[in-house]
């Protein structure tokens, strides 16, 4: 075996100063010994030249992995945001390069870093071990170590004397490397178990999250009298720097507008709802197109709670007692005027229902009112009164 042949021919020496190490390496090489490697707490200038090492090829792996990361991140973002599912976000263009940079940068750095470390382990044939073979504990602290192999026909004591003259703290022959025998469990390469163990601190930190959680509602102390707070411009302020001299700008092209509808002359609340019921007629006549549109909107938005037939059947909420919504085909709702229903669709009901004025266009809300009337016509007048889980007249 190779290890037995190498027995008693390899030695190490430790120094306190990188200059001494450099001199020792030069001396050993000149004397015909083979310097295997040096182990230092930090890179020593000139060591590559002293050991006559070829430049590392790892930078090429680094560049390749970095390019791969960049291509992956850029490709994924561009394809998803601009090609496969183009969706305008925040008035930004589809191909919003600045928005892609952080992810592209992080993935580039991540793959470059992990890739070059993996390549290094691969090239250096290093694998995780339970117990790390340690040439000299000081190599990670403040000692500069070299490992070398004796030239043939040279006795070690002579070399050790020369090394001591060069400033070596100690030098010793290396005995057979017991790690190469792989005797005990701890000397074998570590597998997945070591990886899981390494992840343990991360799990422990997760346990701390509830403790570290702080109250984000509380405001910080304004130690500078608020001078550091930015001056926020309001929508209707004048502006010295923005086009048109005002803060409010025209929306970007292709923005969906509310179709220039004038403000609604009604506010939220019971009195306003009653007033809407008295004053507001449905401006649209029932047609097939309006029926279809109303059905579409109703089934997407309203049916979740009210049920597809307006009778709470099949709704997600039907079995929940007090949370059950008003039955739309009940006599109470039949008797409500169109304007009142429209008001509820816009501002919400008096108890639970939220208003949909900011989500549905005005026309769609009227279409839904038309569709509800059709539902009421279709429903048999009898059983609606006995439909379970209705809370009565509260819309």
């Amino acid at each position: 075996m190779a290890t037995t042949e190498l027995r008693n021919s390899r030695f190490r020496a430790s120094f306190t100063d990188p200059e001494q190490l450099l001199r020792a390496v030069a001396y050993l090489r000149a004397a015909g010994h083979r310097v295997l490697d040096t182990y230092t707490p930090f890179p020593v200038h000139g060591m590559d030249e002293a050991l006559d090492q070829r430049p590392s090829r790892l930078p090429r792996a680094c560049l390749a992995f970095a390019a791969l990361g960049l291509a992956l991140a850029a490709g994924l973002q561009i394809w998803t945001s601009a090609v496969d599912y183009p969706l305008i976000m925040g008035g930004k263009p589809l191909l919003a390069i600045p928005a892609f940079i952080p992810v592209a940068f992080e993935l580039t750095v991540l793959l470059a870093g992990l890739g070059v470390v993996a390549s290094f382990f691969l090239v250096a044939r290093m694998r995780p071990r339970w117990r790390v073979p340690d040439l000299h504990p000081g190599a990670n602290d403040d000692r500069f170590i070299l490992a070398a192999e004796l030239a043939t026909d040279v006795q070690f004591p002579a070399v050790a004397r020369d090394l001591a003259d060069l400033g070596a703290l100690e030098s010793s022959l290396l005995v057979e490397d017991r790690f190469q025998r792989g005797g005990s469990f701890w000397d074998r390469p570590a597998g997945v178990g070591a990886l899981l163990l390494a992840c343990l601190p991360a799990f422990l930190i997760l346990l701390l999250v509830p403790v570290l959680n702080r109250d984000f509602q509380r405001r910080n102390l304004a130690w500078d009298g608020g001078m550091g707070a930015p001056l926020s411009a309001q929508a209707f302020d004048a502006s010295g720097v923005l086009p048109g001299g005002k803060v409010l700008q025209a929306p970007p092209p292709d923005t969906l507008s509310r179709r220039g509808e004038p403000p609604l002359a009604y506010g939220p609340g019971k009195a306003e709802a009653d007033r809407a019921g008295r004053e507001l007629p449905n401006p649209y006549q029932p047609t097939q197109a309006r029926f279809n549109r109303g059905k579409l909107v109703f089934e997407r938005v309203c049916a979740t709670c009210h049920g597809r037939e307006g009778d709470n059947n099949g709704s997600v909420i039907v079995a929940r007692g007090a949370f059950a919504p008003t039955v739309l085909v009940s006599p109470v709702v039949r008797d409500m005027p169109d304007g009142r229903l429209f008001h509820i669709a816009t501002f919400g009901g008096p108890t639970k229902m939220k208003g949909y004025g900011d989500l549905l266009s005005r026309e769609d809300r009227w279409n839904v009112v038309l569709y509800i009337r059709e539902l009421q016509k279709a429903a048999r007048p009898g059983p609606t009164a006995s439909t379970p889980a209705s809370t009565g007249a509260q819309p």
Binding site: G46, K92, P98, P230, L231, V241
Partner: protein, 380 residues
């Protein structure tokens, strides 16, 4: 051993080879010419268009101060970390802080131009909405009191650090606070509507990058004239790596500031940024990115490039131009009230003044402990 540059051995008895004293004499004459011409052009610029003149004086002053601080900061972190790689080039670091007193005097000159530059120094400042409640901090006497205090702190801690090698850690603390205040005061208050909490870090990233660039140029030039004989390829490689890393750092900080403004699109932040992104300032905005990040990244990517003196010199020249442009884009848009950018007498004067003052301040420090009769290495 580390690879050193081959300098041919000269016959010292031969005459006709210029000595250090000779070249110092020649360079000093040139530097004085630069200073006088620069000051004259800047003065002419002041008369022709006051805003541009004062703006360029502020740019010149701030840049000179940043060069001094860059040297000090590099010196401080090398002292704290106990770095030894930089021992052969520390002379280049030690020379740069000599600029600080001169920059301080120039900064105090701005007292006369404050009303032209800063909205808070104008008589109608009280009616400026953005300045409401801020005039207690931003008023000329307090402002220039801070200027004097800040420069005093820099010069005092700098002297201790360069001459006695003491106080590196306190300097870092003092520097962090004062440099932030300086950036917020001198540059960001030009446009009171606009604010950015990362502004000082952005200024720091540019300052640090510029400091490394000037150390690199000094190290290469001084090695060539024989003042830093111990500089080897290893130092060049380290400086190249630093340049590469901090060019990326600058871009990182630049994007950190820009991305949030671009994304949030808040009117008070986007307004001033709009000037740079649209219209005639746009090419300069992109040129800034190319000079400070794009070209240095490509040029310094390879290992050989990081040790090549020619590539390093070219990159440093690009970076210095980029730093000037970076400051120009921070100072000029608010000062010119959104007019188009211009390069003319005032800008040229400012640059000449920087080069001349830079040389006059640093060369005596370079020459300290050097033998003036030493002859220049030929073909080194």
């Amino acid at each position: 051993m580390s690879q050193t540059f081959t300098v041919p051995v000269r016959d010292l008895t031969k005459s006709g080879i210029p000595t250090l004293a000779d070249i110092g004499e020649r360079l000093r004459g040139g530097a004085w010419a630069f200073v006088l011409l620069g000051a004259g052009l800047l003065g002419l610029g002041l008369v022709l268009q006051a805003e541009r003149g004062w703006g360029n004086l502020l740019l010149t002053t701030f840049n000179l101060a940043c060069v001094g601080l860059g040297g000090l900061f590099l010196l401080a972190i090398q002292s704290i970390t106990g770095a030894r790689w930089s021992d052969p080039i520390l002379k280049a670091h030690r020379a740069m802080p000599a600029l600080l007193p001169r920059a301080g005097l120039l900064m105090l000159l701005l007292w006369f131009g404050a009303a032209t530059l800063y909205p808070w120094a104008r008589p109608d400042a009280a009616t400026h909405e953005a300045l409401h409640g801020r005039l207690g901090w931003l008023n000329p006497p307090f402002f220039f009191g801070r200027v004097a205090l800040i420069f005093g702190a820099w010069i005092w801690t700098g002297r201790r650090l360069t001459q006695q090698g003491k106080g590196a850690a306190p300097f870092i603390l003092v520097f962090g606070l004062t440099f932030s205040v300086a950036n917020f005061d001198w540059l960001m208050s030009l446009e009171p509507v606009w604010s950015s909490t990362i502004f000082a870090i952005y200024g720091f990233s540019g300052m640090f990058l510029q400091g490394i660039a000037i150390v690199t140029i000094s190290a290469i030039v001084l090695r060539r004239v024989g003042l830093l004989p111990a500089v080897s390829k290893a130092q060049n490689h380290d400086l190249g790596k630093l340049l590469f890393a901090f060019s990326c750092f600058w871009a990182y900080i630049f994007l950190s500031q820009f991305l949030l403004i671009w994304y949030a699109n808040l009117p008070e932040e986007t307004g001033p940024m709009r000037l740079l992104l649209q219209g005639r300032w746009m090419p300069l905005f992109y040129l800034n990115l190319i000079l400070n990040f794009g070209l240095p990244f490509v040029l310094l990517l390879g290992r050989k490039a990081k040790t090549s003196e020619a590539v390093l010199l070219a990159t440093c020249a690009l970076l210095l131009a980029g730093r000037w442009l970076d400051l120009y884009l921070q100072i000029m848009p608010p000062v010119l009230h959104g007019l188009t950018p211009a390069f003319g007498l005032a800008e040229l004067g400012g640059i000449l003044l920087q080069l001349g003052l830079g040389h006059l301040s640093c060369w005596p420090v370079f020459m300290k402990d050097a033998n003036p009769a030493q002859e220049l290495p030929q073909g080194g």
